[in-house]
C-alpha cells in the first residue's frame, strides 16, 4: 500500500527537479529544512530519525539536495525519508511543510487494525505497522 502521510503523497513520486523547487520555496520563505527518515511509518510516530540538524542559512536548494542524496545513499533502499520545513515566526514556530521524498524499494505491507472489545459495544482500536513486526535491521527487505 501507499502511505499517504505528508503534503504531496497523492501525487506521483517527486523527481529531484520537483523536490528542488519545493525546497527552494521553503528556503525563500526563510524556513529551515530538515531531513528525517524512518522504517516505522505508524501515523503517530512523530519523531523520525534526523539526518543531522535542520539546515539554516542555506541559500540554494542544491545545498539541501546534497544532504538528501547522502541520506538516500545510506537509507534510501529501506526507509521513508521526508523533508520538513520549520518556520520560526512568532505565532507559528512549527513545521510549515513536510513531504515524503523517498519510499522503501519494496512494497509497504501496511497496517493491521487490532480491535479490543470493551464495555458495551465500544472498541479500543490499535494500529500496528506490519513492517515493525520485524526488528529494525530486517524491515523493508525482500
Amino acid at each position: 500500500m501507499k502511505i499517504t502521510q505528508g503534503t504531496f503523497s497523492f501525487l506521483p513520486d517527486l523527481t529531484d527537479e520537483q523536490i528542488t523547487k519545493q525546497i527552494q520555496y521553503c528556503i525563500d520563505n526563510d524556513w529551515a529544512v530538515g531531513i528525517e527518515f524512518t522504517n516505522d511509518p505508524h501515523p503517530r510516530n512523530t519523531y523520525w530519525e534526523m539526518w543531522d540538524l535542520p539546515m539554516f542559512d542555506i541559500r540554494d536548494a542544491a545545498g539541501i539536495l546534497y544532504e538528501l542524496n547522502a541520506c538516500r545513499k545510506v537509507y534510501g533502499d529501506n526507509h521513508y525519508i521526508r523533508l520538513s520545513a520549520f518556520d520560526n515566526t512568532h505565532g507559528w514556530e512549527s513545521i510549515k511543510l513536510s513531504f515524503i521524498v523517498n519510499r522503501p524499494k519494496v512494497e509497504d505491507p501496511g497496517f493491521r487494525l487490532v480491535r479490543q472489545e470493551v464495555d458495551g459495544r465500544s472498541i479500543r482500536y490499535t494500529t500496528q505497522a506490519y513492517s515493525t513486526d520485524k526488528p529494525s535491521s530486517e524491515r523493508y527487505r525482500d
Binding site: D52, M55, I58, R59, D60
Partner: protein, 297 residues
C-alpha cells in the same frame, strides 16, 4: 527543420545586466587594469558560451573555479564579490552570494568534525561563490594527520560533481598558491581561470584614498595632500604592508584624530566643512610618519 536561430550578443550583454556590473567594476575600482581585462575576457567567453548553448552548439557547463593571486589588500575579495554578481547575471550561479572562509572555517578540531564542518559551508555557498582565502593552508604536508586533507578531498569532489551548484575561488599569495597547485594536481586541473592582482602604485593608492574618503563623505584638505602622499610612501616600507587595506586603516585613524581635534576646540560652532575635512594635523601624528619630523605644508 532549418529554423535559423540567432543570438545577439550585444543585446544579451545589456539585457542581462552584465554590462552594468562590468561598468561598475571599471568605475569603482582604481587601477587593476590587467584584472579588469581578464574579467572582461571571461565575461565574453561565458556569454558566448551561453549563446552556443542556445544554439545547441555546446552542452557542457564550463569549469568556472578560479584562483585569485596577489598580495593582501590588492582587491581580491572586492573583485570576488563583483565576480559572484557577474556570474549570477550571466546565469552561471543561481543566487550570486559570496561565502568567505579561511582554513579555520573548514577544518575541524577532532576526528569526525571536519566533514560536517566543510559540508555545512559548502551547502551555504551553493547557488553562489565560495571564496577560500589563503587556500594553501589547507595543505600541510608536514603533518600527515592534518584534517585539512579531508577538506581537500571533499572540496575536490564537490568542485567536480556540483559545477552548476557553486563556484570556488581560491585566493592568496602567488608563490604559495603555485606550490599548492603543484603538490595538488587535483586542484590545478579543476581551476580554469587564474587572475593575478598586482600591487598598487603610490599614485593608485592615493587615488584609492581619495575615493574611500569620498565614500564616507569626507574630503582631503588642501594642506594634507603632500603629507598623505608621504604617508603612503612610508607606509609601503613598513612591515605587513597590505596595499589598499593599509590605506583604509590609515584613513580610519586619521578620521579618529580629526574627531579628537574638533572636540578639543571646545565651545565653537562647526560647519559642514569643518566636520568633513581631513587636515594636515590628522596625519602628522601618525606613528608611520614619526620616524622623522613631518614635512611642513
Amino acid at each position: 527543420m532549418s529554423e535559423i536561430k540567432s543570438f545577439n550578443l550585444q543585446k544579451a550583454f545589456e539585457a542581462s545586466g552584465v554590462k552594468e556590473v562590468l561598468d561598475e567594476l571599471d568605475r569603482d575600482l582604481i587601477g587593476l587594469l590587467p584584472v579588469k581585462t581578464r574579467i572582461h575576457e571571461t565575461a565574453s567567453l561565458l556569454l558566448v558560451n551561453k549563446a552556443r548553448e542556445e544554439l545547441n552548439l555546446s552542452k557542457i557547463q564550463p569549469s568556472l573555479h578560479m584562483s585569485f593571486t596577489g598580495n593582501p589588500g590588492t582587491g581580491k575579495t572586492t573583485v570576488a564579490m563583483r565576480m559572484a554578481k557577474l556570474l549570477y547575471r550571466l546565469g552561471y550561479v543561481r543566487k550570486g552570494h559570496l561565502v568567505l572562509v579561511t582554513r579555520d572555517d573548514l577544518v575541524g578540531q577532532y576526528i569526525g568534525h571536519t566533514a560536517p564542518k566543510t559540508k555545512e559551508i559548502l551547502k551555504k555557498a551553493m547557488g553562489g561563490v565560495l571564496f577560500i582565502d589563503e587556500a594553501y593552508y589547507l595543505y600541510r604536508p608536514e603533518n600527515e594527520r592534518d584534517y585539512g586533507q579531508e577538506v581537500i578531498e571533499i572540496l575536490l569532489q564537490v568542485m567536480e560533481d556540483h559545477r552548476d551548484d557553486l563556484v570556488v575561488i581560491l585566493a592568496g599569495y602567488a608563490d604559495k598558491m603555485d606550490k599548492f597547485f603543484s603538490s595538488n594536481p587535483g586542484f590545478r586541473s579543476r581551476v580554469a581561470h587564474h587572475i593575478d592582482f598586482p600591487d598598487y602604485s603610490d599614485d593608485e593608492l592615493f587615488e584609492i584614498a581619495i575615493k574611500m574618503l569620498k565614500e564616507q563623505n569626507y574630503v582631503l584638505g588642501d594642506n594634507a595632500v603632500t603629507i598623505l602622499k608621504e604617508y603612503i610612501a612610508k607606509r609601503r616600507e613598513q612591515p605587513h604592508f597590505a596595499n589598499a587595506r593599509s590605506i583604509r586603516n590609515g584613513l580610519d585613524r586619521a578620521i579618529l584624530r580629526q574627531a579628537n581635534r574638533l572636540f578639543n576646540k571646545g565651545d565653537v560652532e562647526l560647519n559642514a566643512k569643518d566636520l568633513s575635512e581631513i587636515d594636515y594635523e590628522d596625519f602628522a601624528l601618525s606613528r608611520v610618519l614619526k620616524s622623522k619630523p613631518p614635512t611642513q605644508p
